[in-house]
Amino acid sequence: MKAEGHRGRAERIERSLALLGERDWEMKIEAAMLAGTHWANYALHCRGVTPEAEDIVHTSMLVVNMLRKYSIVEGELLNELAEIEELRPLYVRGDLPDGARAADRALQLLRSVGQRALRAASTP
């Protein structure tokens, strides 16, 4: 997908997030994962590290050497995305208490991921 396509999807998901409430922690975490992954692809495409035909889906599904390569330029962003991903089995597929707090953390991480991606796009 083209870089601008990723950005458009991420921004649309972020707009939809406004409709979610306190009891929707699963989808807040999933939205952070979906939008964060689009932001990651946007950043990697803008930096020329990955071509449009090479999108990541999950950091946990990446071949180790590819994750190392991408992390050279966007290590912090990918660490934040990995932290969002680690919330999923516990609070989306699991039923641990404090889901709302976990969702707040996921959205905090998403904001940081988005900011990093926008900075990547403006880096010459």
């Binding site: 649309r12 998901i13 939809s16 699963e26 989808m27 999933e30 979906l34 089995p89 516990l90």
Partner: protein, 153 residues
């Protein structure tokens, strides 16, 4: 995960689904549909005695997050429990036709995942309608399975 927890998630996700616009909010509407569907499947599989309802959480096939003695969670190799997606892992053995039908409905919804969420296919009213029909029938199968289990049938 326990059936009651799946039921709680299905109820809240179905309520959220109704607040999202199927096209304007397609990504979250679709993912909410998919997540609710996976919880319906897991509850139905537990209710049918096909998978364990142990309070452990699915990751990739064969690996679950399990509570440790110190309260933390760690990945462990486990037998059939919750699936993370329909068919991932597949359910083997003598499976009732209604459960196979539920799986087929969820596979139908899953077919739109990569093209519409990770590819360039634009969601359409026809895709929404297809997902709506599959979701409604899946809900009916799930509700019957859980009701039967709770009544001891």
């Amino acid at each position: 995960m326990k059936i009651d927890s799946h039921v709680d998630k299905v109820q809240r996700l179905a309520a959220l689904r109704a607040r999202l616009h199927p096209l304007a909010d397609f990504e979250l509407w679709y993912w909410t549909t998919l997540t609710a569907g996976t919880n319906m499947l897991n509850a139905t599989l537990h209710a049918s005695g096909l998978t364990s309802d142990d309070p452990v959480f699915s990751t990739i096939p064969g690996v679950h997050l399990v509570r440790q003695g110190d309260g933390s969670y760690a990945r462990e190799l486990r037998g059939p429990g919750d699936v993370s997606h329909v068919g991932w892992p597949p359910i083997k053995g003598d499976v009732p036709a209604s459960v196979r039908r539920l799986e087929a409905l969820l596979h139908g919804i899953e077919e739109h995942r990569d093209p519409c969420l990770r590819g360039d296919r634009a969601p359409t009213a026809a895709i929404v309608e297809e997902c709506e029909h599959a979701f409604a029938e899946a809900m009916s199968i799930y509700q019957q399975a859980v009701a039967a289990a709770r009544s001891g049938l």
